[in-house]
Point group: C2
Chain length 896, copies 2
C-alpha cells in the first residue's frame, strides 16, 4: 500500500531529508531533524501526491488516505498525551503547507488549530494564563477565518482595532483577557454573518478544513505567480504538515525566532537571526513588530542560546550548506520548527561557496554549482559613488536588506511601479510589502520599507530577486493615502512625491533624496575573483562580449570576455557626425555619389575598429557588416507625410514643399511593410556592394594599422542574414578582395576569417552548404527566434504577456532560448556545418548568450563560445561552467 502520511518526532521519522519530492522541503527537514534527535515538536506530513489526488478526485481526499492520516494523528496524540478536541487535555496543532521548493510567504499557514470555546477554557486553566489562551483563540479564529473561510483580514482587523479604540488600548498587549473574550465574540459573529454558519467547534472538522485550504492555496494567484517567476512546475503539489503546537507567547520565558547559520546578505560567517519574546512565529516574519538580533538572546536565555547555536552549527555541517531555521522557546524549552538551505544574495552565495571550500565543507566543483548564475548579477551592478553619498541629502538609515545601489523615481504602489517602470527606473516605497506586491517589486530598481526586519517579506523577496532593498527605515513615514513619503531631518520635514528621485544603498541601508551617481564593481580581487577562477577551471567553452565601441570592449575585458562576439557596425553610423554622410549615401542616385559619401564614412569606421582591436589585443573581434534597413537612417515616413500635408494646407512656399516631397519620395521607395523581413542584412550588401567593400576596407586598414603597433589582431568578418550560400559567396568575394588590396598596399597581412550569422531558419536547414563558404557561424537567436515563431519582438508584446498568463508559453522566448522549437534548428545547423567543415567555429551572439539555461544549451550542442552584453559575461562564464559540470543544468541549479 502506498504511504501517503509520514509521522515524525520523538527522535524518529518515517521519512528523511532526501524525500523533498514526497514530503516537501519543510516536511523533509522536519523528518531529518527528528532523525537527528533534535527537539522537534512531533507531527505528521501528508505527502505532495495527496495534493494532486485531492484535485483529481474533485476536491476530496480519498478515504484510504484519510484512514492513514487518522492513524498518524492517533500516534501524535499518543506521543503528546493529548487528544485533538479533548475538552480536558486538548492537542493543538499547526497546519502548514510545504512544497518541494520553498515559496516564502506564498502559502497559507494556520496555527493553534484545535481550539474551540471549551478547549480555550482548558488552555486558560492549564497555562494559568487566560489572556494567552484567549489571544491564541482569537488569532486562530482570525487565521482560520481568513485562510479557510475566505473572510478578509481587514474585517477582523477592523473589529480588533474597534475594540482597542473602545478600551483606549495603545498596543495589542494592552488588551485584557476580557477584552480578548469580547473580540472573540465579535469574530464569531463575523464568521456567522459571512458564512451563514457558526465557527466550527469540532477540532477534527477544523483539521480537515485546514488541510483542504492548504491544498487549495497551491492554486492561489500569488502561488501561481511565484511558480511562474521561478519556473516551478504546477503539478508538484504541496504537502501538509500537521505538527503539535508549541508556544512562544507563553510570557517572557517564551520566544520565537528565525535565523541563518551565516549572514544571508553578506555571506559573513556569523550566527545571524532575530527573535521576539512572547510572540508567535508570524509576528517575526510579518514584520509587524521589529524583532531583536539573536545575539541578545544570549543575555536573556544563555543556555537556550548555546543549545540553539550548537544545533544549528551541526545542521549546517550535516547539510553542508547555510541553514535557514525557525525555532520557538516555550517556557525555556527550545523547539526547532524548521530548517532548510537558506536563500542568500549573490554576494553571500559567492562568499559562502568560497569560504565553505576553504573550510573543507565542500569542493570547488560543488562551490561552482552552488551559485545561481543570475545571482552574480548582484555583484556586477554599479555601486554608489562616494561623491553622491556625500553630496546628496541623507534621508534615513534602514536595514541593509539586499545589497546594491538603486536609483529611480518614487512610486507608492505595485501597480504604479509597473506603469512607471516602462518610462524609467523606479524605486518602490511601501510601509511594508505584502505578497500581492510581487509584480511591482519585480520591475522596481530598489525597494524601501519603513517597517519590518531582515526577514520581512520585502527583504526576503528582494534578496531572491537581486534587487537592492532598504527595509525597516522607521524614520520614513509612508503616506499611501496622499502618495508621499515624509522624513524629519534635523527638525525639518522633507517630502518626496511620486516622480521625485530617490537613491538607496542596499549594502549600507542608506536612503538619499535625489539621483545618485554609481560606479562599476571591482572583479579583480576578493571572493568573486577567486570564485571566477574556479569557474573558469571547469568552463569548457569561450565567453565573448557584444560590444560596439572601445569603452564597452574595455568593460567586457574587465569582466573576463575573451573577445568580441558581435560588433554592430551600424551603431557607429547613428552618431551625430556620421548620420549626414549615411543619409547622403542613401539619397545618392548613382553608385558614384554613394561611393563619395562612403569615402567620408570610411576613416570614421577605421578609427572605431582600431579602438576595438586595441582593446581586444590577442582576442578575436567579430565585426558584422551593415544590418538594418536603410530607412532607419532617414526621417520617419508618416512624420514627413504629416509635415508636407500641413505645409500644403498652410500654403507654405512651393520650393520648400518640393524639397520635403523629394525626401519623402526616397523614403517611400525605401518604405517596407515588414522591415524585419525586408531589404536588410546581406541583402543590402548584395544590392549595394560598395557598402560592404567600404566596411571591409575599414576593417582591414584598421587591422593592419594596429598590428603594426605590435597588437595581436584577430578580425572575423561576419555577414548577416544569410539564408543561401550564394549570398555569402557574393559578400565573401568582396571582403576577400578588399583584404587582398589592403594587405598588398600595406605590405602586411593579418589572419582573418569570414563567416556568417545563422539567424533565419533556412540558414540552419542548409548549414552544410553554407559552411562551404563560412569559416564560422554565429547564431543570431533574436532573429532566429522571430522567424522560427513567426512573430517579431516589437509586435509580440501585444499577446506574449497574455500567452504567458494563459500558460500557452512557459517563458518569453526572447528571454529564454526556446530549446524545443528553435533549439533543434540550432542543433541541426551545428551538426550540418561541422559535417562540411569539421573545425567550424560556432558561437551565439543573440541576447540568449547571457541567459543561464540558454548557455547550458549552447554548451550541450557543442558551441565554441557564447557572446553576451559585457555585464552578463561573468554570468555566462558561470552558466557555461555549470553546464560543463552537469549534463542536466536544471539539476545543477536546484542543488544551489
Amino acid at each position: 500500500m502506498t504511504q501517503y502520511v509520514y509521522s515524525f518526532g520523538g527522535g524518529a521519522a518515517d521519512g528523511d531529508g532526501k524525500m523533498k519530492d514526497v514530503l516537501g522541503g519543510k516536511g523533509a527537514g522536519l523528518a531529518e531533524m527528528s532523525r537527528a534527535k533534535l527537539p522537534v515538536p512531533p507531527g505528521f506530513t501528508v505527502s505532495t501526491a495527496v495534493c494532486n489526488l485531492y484535485f483529481q478526485s474533485g476536491n476530496q481526499v480519498p478515504s484510504q488516505i484519510q484512514h492513514q492520516a487518522g492513524e498518524a494523528l492517533a500516534r501524535l496524540e499518543e506521543k503528546m498525551g493529548q487528544r485533538l478536541g479533548d475538552p480536558q487535555n486538548p492537542l493543538l496543532v499547526s497546519v502548514r503547507s510545504g512544497a518541494k521548493f520553498s515559496m516564502p510567504g506564498m502559502m497559507d499557514t494556520i496555527l493553534n488549530l484545535g481550539l474551540n470555546d471549551q478547549t480555550t477554557e482548558t488552555l486558560a486553566q492549564k497555562s494559568g494564563n487566560p489572556r494567552f489562551a484567549y489571544d491564541c483563540y482569537r488569532r486562530f479564529i482570525q487565521m482560520f477565518g481568513n485562510v479557510v473561510l475566505d473572510i478578509g483580514k481587514n474585517e477582523f482587523e477592523h473589529l480588533f482595532d474597534s475594540r482597542k479604540k473602545k478600551v483606549k488600548a495603545k498596543y495589542d498587549t494592552d488588551l485584557t483577557a476580557d477584552d480578548l473574550k469580547a473580540v472573540i465574540a465579535d469574530y464569531k459573529k463575523l464568521v456567522r454573518e459571512k458564512t451563514g454558519k457558526p465557527f466550527p467547534q469540532d477540532a477534527r472538522q477544523q483539521l480537515a478544513m485546514a488541510r483542504d485550504a492548504v491544498f487549495c492555496s497551491w492554486h492561489n494567484a500569488r502561488a501561481i505567480h511565484y511558480r511562474k517567476m521561478n519556473n516551478i512546475p504546477d503539478d508538484l503539489g504541496t504537502a501538509v504538515n500537521v505538527q503539535a503546537m508549541v508556544f512562544g507567547n507563553l510570557g517572557d520565558t517564551s520566544a520565537t525566532g528565525v535565523g541563518f547559520t551565516r549572514n544571508p546578505a553578506t555571506g559573513l560567517k556569523e550566527f545571524y537571526g532575530e527573535f521576539l519574546l512572547n510572540a508567535q512565529g508570524e509576528d517575526v516574519v510579518a514584520g509587524i513588530r521589529t524583532p531583536k538580533p539573536i545575539s541578545e538572546l544570549k543575555d536573556v536565555m544563555p543556555d537556550v542560546y548555546q543549545q540553539l547555536h550548537t544545533i544549528t552549527s551541526n545542521l549546517e555541517k550535516h547539510y553542508r550548506d547555510v541553514q535557514d531555521f525557525e525555532f520557538t522557546i516555550q517556557d525555556h524549552k527550545l523547539y526547532m520548527l524548521q530548517t532548510r538551505n537558506g536563500k542568500r544574495t549573490g554576494p553571500a552565495a559567492v562568499r559562502i561557496a568560497v569560504e565553505m571550500v576553504e573550510e573543507g565543507l565542500i569542493d570547488k566543483r560543488e562551490a561552482v554549482l552552488r551559485v545561481d548564475p543570475m545571482q552574480l548579477d548582484q555583484l556586477l551592478h554599479p555601486v554608489m559613488e562616494d561623491s553622491s553619498r556625500n553630496s546628496l541629502q541623507l534621508l534615513a538609515r534602514g536595514l541593509n536588506a539586499s545589497p546594491g545601489a538603486a536609483v529611480g523615481t518614487v512610486v507608492f504602489t505595485a501597480d504604479e511601479a509597473v506603469v512607471k517602470a516602462k518610462n524609467g527606473p523606479v524605486v518602490l516605497v511601501r510601509a511594508e510589502t505584502v505578497p500581492d506586491d510581487i509584480h511591482g517589486m519585480e520591475v522596481a530598481k530598489g525597494i524601501l520599507t519603513s517597517r519590518g526586519g531582515m526577514t520581512s517579506h520585502a527583504a526576503v523577496v528582494a534578496r531572491g530577486m537581486g534587487i537592492p532593498c532598504v527595509a525597516g527605515a522607521g524614520a520614513v513615514e509612508v503616506d499611501e493615502h496622499r502618495q508621499e513619503m515624509r522624513v524629519q531631518v534635523n527638525g525639518k520635514t522633507t517630502t518626496l512625491k511620486e516622480g521625485d528621485w530617490l537613491s538607496l544603498d542596499g549594502s549600507t541601508g542608506e536612503v538619499f533624496a535625489g539621483r545618485a551617481q554609481t560606479k562599476d564593481p571591482d572583479l579583480s580581487s576578493g571572493h568573486l575573483a577567486k570564485f571566477m577562477t574556479w569557474v573558469d577551471e571547469f568552463r569548457t567553452i569561450g565567453v565573448r562580449a557584444n560590444a560596439d565601441i572601445p569603452r564597452d570592449a574595455k568593460v567586457a575585458r574587465n569582466f573576463g570576455a575573451e573577445g568580441i562576439g558581435l560588433c554592430r557596425t551600424e551603431h557607429m553610423f547613428f552618431a551625430e557626425d556620421r548620420i549626414p554622410h549615411m543619409q547622403a549615401m542613401i539619397l545618392a542616385r548613382t553608385e558614384k555619389d554613394r561611393r563619395k559619401a562612403l569615402a567620408k564614412l570610411l576613416p570614421m569606421q577605421r578609427k572605431d575598429f582600431a579602438g576595438l582591436f586595441e582593446a581586444m589585443n590577442g582576442y578575436p573581434v567579430v565585426i558584422r557588416t551593415l544590418d538594418p534597413p536603410l530607412h532607419e537612417f532617414l526621417p520617419k515616413r508618416e512624420e514627413l507625410m504629416v509635415e508636407i500635408a500641413v505645409m500644403k494646407a498652410t500654403r507654405r512656399p512651393r520650393k520648400k514643399i518640393a524639397e520635403r516631397e523629394e525626401l519623402l519620395r526616397r523614403v517611400e521607395e525605401l518604405h517596407e511593410f515588414n522591415p524585419m523581413l525586408g531589404h536588410r542584412g546581406c541583402r543590402l550588401g548584395i544590392t549595394y556592394p560598395e557598402i560592404t567593400e567600404m566596411q571591409a576596407r575599414a576593417i582591414f586598414e584598421a587591422a593592419v594599422q594596429v598590428a603594426k603597433k605590435g597588437v595581436k589582431v584577430i578580425p572575423e568578418v561576419m555577414i548577416p542574414l544569410v539564408g543561401n550560400v550564394t549570398e555569402l559567396e557574393n559578400q565573401k568575394k568582396i571582403v576577400v578582395q578588399a583584404a587582398d588590396d589592403v594587405f598588398k598596399k600595406a605590405g602586411q597581412k593579418v589572419h582573418y576569417m569570414v563567416g556568417t550569422m545563422i539567424e533565419v531558419p533556412r540558414a540552419a536547414v542548409t548549414a552544410d552548404k553554407i559552411a562551404e563558404q563560412a569559416e564560422f557561424f554565429s547564431f543570431g537567436t533574436n532573429d532566429l527566434t522571430q522567424t522560427t515563431f513567426g512573430f517579431s519582438r516589437d509586435d509580440s508584446g501585444k499577446f506574449l504577456k497574455e500567452y504567458q498568463d494563459r500558460k500557452i508559453f512557459k517563458d518569453d522566448p526572447f528571454a529564454v532560448l526556446d530549446q524545443e522549437g528553435v533549439g533543434p534548428l540550432m542543433r541541426m545547423a551545428v551538426e550540418k556545418g561541422r559535417q562540411t567543415r569539421a573545425d567550424l567555429e560556432v558561437g551565439i551572439c543573440g541576447e540568449h548568450g547571457g541567459e543561464p539555461s540558454s548557455v547550458g544549451f549552447c554548451v550541450r550542442v557543442g558551441m565554441n563560445y557564447v557572446s553576451c552584453s559585457p555585464y552578463r559575461v561573468p554570468i555566462a562564464r558561470l552558466a557555461a561552467a555549470q553546464a560543463a559540470l552537469s549534463t542536466s543544468k536544471e539539476e545543477a541549479m536546484r542543488t544551489a
Copy 2:
C-alpha cells in the same frame, strides 16, 4: 582519348539521336537522320563539352580538340570532293549552334562560310549564276560581320537600302549582280572601318572565328534570359554543327522550308509547313517574306513533296512524336537539314497525345508525361464570347499563330509592355518581333504582328509561352515612329494609339478594336476531357481548390477539384455590408460590445459557409479561422495622421478632430511594425476567443442546416499560424465546444475535423507535438517561405529581381517551392506528424499547390492532397499524375 568531334552524313554517323547531351538536339538529330540514310548534307559536330572547355581555357579551344576538328573537316572535304577555301573547288559550310534543349531564335547561325573574293568568283562560274554567288557573299559578310565581328545589323541594312535607293530597286531581287558587287564593296569597307582589319579571306580562319562566336553566343543576354525562363542550367553548353552548305536560292528549282508532321497550334494531324522558292532558310524564319503553305509545294515539285512527306512521316513514327523539320531543295534535290520533337501549344499537346494513343504510337502513361502541366493553362483560359465577336469592329485577319482570346490595351514596344502591364492587361503590337522583345512578350496578354508566318519568331515564342498570338496580319500598318497602328476597313482608316483597347482571337486569327467579353472553356468533352481521365488514372493524391465564395467553389468543381483546401474567412468580412460590423467589433472596448458586433456577423458567415458546403456536396471544405491583423480592417494610420494634422492646421471644429483622434488612438494601439509577424492568426483567436467561437458556430450551424437538406457536409476547421501545440489546444477547445453546443441544439451531428496550418518553422520542428491535437496539417507555404527565408513577399521585390539576375536565386521562392530550404522543414513536419498520428491528413494550400515542380515535391513527401486556385486545378492534377509516374519530375518534363 575522349571524342570531341563527331562526323555525320553519307548514310552514317559517329553519334546517334540519343546523344543530345553530347551533340545537342540539332547534332543528335543530324546524326540520327544520317544513320537512317536520309538525305542530310554531311558535316561534323563539335560537342557541348568543348563549349565549357573553351571558357575554362580562357576562350581557347584546346589543341587536341582542334586536331580532331581538323580531321573531321578533312573527312567532310573528302565526302564533298571540295576543300574549304580552295579557289578552284571551294567547300561552303554552315555553322550552327545546337544545345541539348532547343532555344529557338536565341543562338546565332552563320551560312555560306568559306566564301571570299576568290571563291565567290568560282561559285559564280560554277553555278552559272553570278547574281546568286554575289548574293551569297554579301549575305555571308553581313551575318559574319554581325555575329562574329559584332557590327550592328542595321549598319549593313543601311548600306543595302542606300544601294537599292540609288538604283531605284523596289525589291531585293531587283538588284543586279553588279549592284551586289557594289554592296559587297560597301560591306567590306564597313568591316574595315569597324574592326580596323579587312574582312577575313582565309576560310579556315573564318571557321575558327565562327566556331568561337557560337560558343560566345551561349552567354549572350537573350540566351541567358531564355535559359532563366525555361530553367535550363547554364553549364550545359552548346555544340557547334559544321555542315556542308546546300542552296535553296539557286533559282526557282530550289527552295527552302520548315514544317511539322502535325499542326503545332491545334494538334490536327496534317502535313503542315511553309516554304519559299529561291530562298535561304533564314528568309522563312525571320518572317521577312511571307512563305507559302507547304501544300503548294505539291504543285511545284510533286516528287520532292512526296519524298519529303514520306521521310517526315517515317521520322514521326521513328521518334514517336511530332517532328519539326527544316529542309532545302537544291536543284530539285531534297536535303533534310534538321528534325526535332516539335514545340506545340497546350491544345495541340493534348490533342496529339490523345490521338497518338488512339493510333497506338504511344501508351496512356507516355501521353500523360508528354504534356507540360503549365501548357494546360492555355486550355483553361477564357475564349472570346460570340456576342463580342459580333459587336466589336473586326479590324483584320492574320494567322492563328497561338490560340486563346487576349484583351488588353495596345503597346508598341517591349519596354512599354513591361511598364504598362503593371497596371493592366496589354497587347503587344509589332511589325515583327525579334529576340530582344522577349521581356515584353512575357508580360503581354497577346501578341499581334503585321508580318511573318506561323513559324515566325512571334508565333514560335508565343506558342511556347502559351500567349495568344495573331501573326502576319498584313492589313495592319504598325507605325512605330508615331506609336500607332492603322487599318483600312471599308475604305476608312481606323487608328489605334497606345492605351486603346484591342482584342485578339489567337485561335481564329481575328483582330478586333475594343474590349471583348470572354467566357470560360469547356472541360467536359473533347480531347482534354479524355486526357484528364487518363491523368486521374495515374494520379495518387487529391487536388482541392482554394475558394472563398460559392461561385469560385463551382468553378473549382468544374475543373475537377475534390474539395476546398482553403476558405479564407476574412475575405468575407471585407464586403461592404460587413466591414462596419467588423470595425465595430474591433473598436469595442469590452467583450460584451465585441460579442454584440460578432452576433451581427454570424448569420452572414453562416450563409457563406452554407453555400460552400452545398457546392462541395460530398467533398471536404477546409475553413480557416480569422487570420489577418485587425488593423487591416481599419483606415490606414498615416492617412489618419495626415487628415488630423490638416484638420488642426485649418482649424476644423474640435469635436470632429476629437472623433478622428479617437479612431487614430485605436489604430495606434493596433499598429504593428511588422504586421506579417504580429498579432494575427491564432494569436487573435486566443486573445479574442469570442471571434473563434462565432466563426465555429457559423460553420457548424451552416453544416447542420445544409446536412438536413441531404447534402453530405465534411467541414474541416483550420487554425492558422500555430507554432506551439498549446495554441492549437486552446483554439480547438473553443471549436469543439461550439460544435457540441450546435449539435445538441440541432439534434444532429456532423463529422468534422480540427487541424492546423503549418506555416511557421516552429510548427514544422514541433510537428510531433502539434499532431497530438491536430487531425490534419495544411502547409501554408507562402508564410512558411517568408519565415524560413526571413523576407516578406511584399518587401522582397526590392531585391529578389536582382537576386535572380545575379543568380543568387534560381527561382522566385514564392513562385516555385524552395525544395532545398523550405522542403526539408516540410518533410520533417510530415514525418514527425505521422509519427504521432499515422492517419494524419496532410495537404498544402499555399500558392505553390498549383506549380508543377512543387506539386511533384508534395507527392514525393507523401501528402494527401494539394490545393490551389480553381484555374490551376487541372495543372495540379496533371503535375500530380506525372510525379506519381516518375520519381524524377524533371526527367518527366524533359521528355515532353
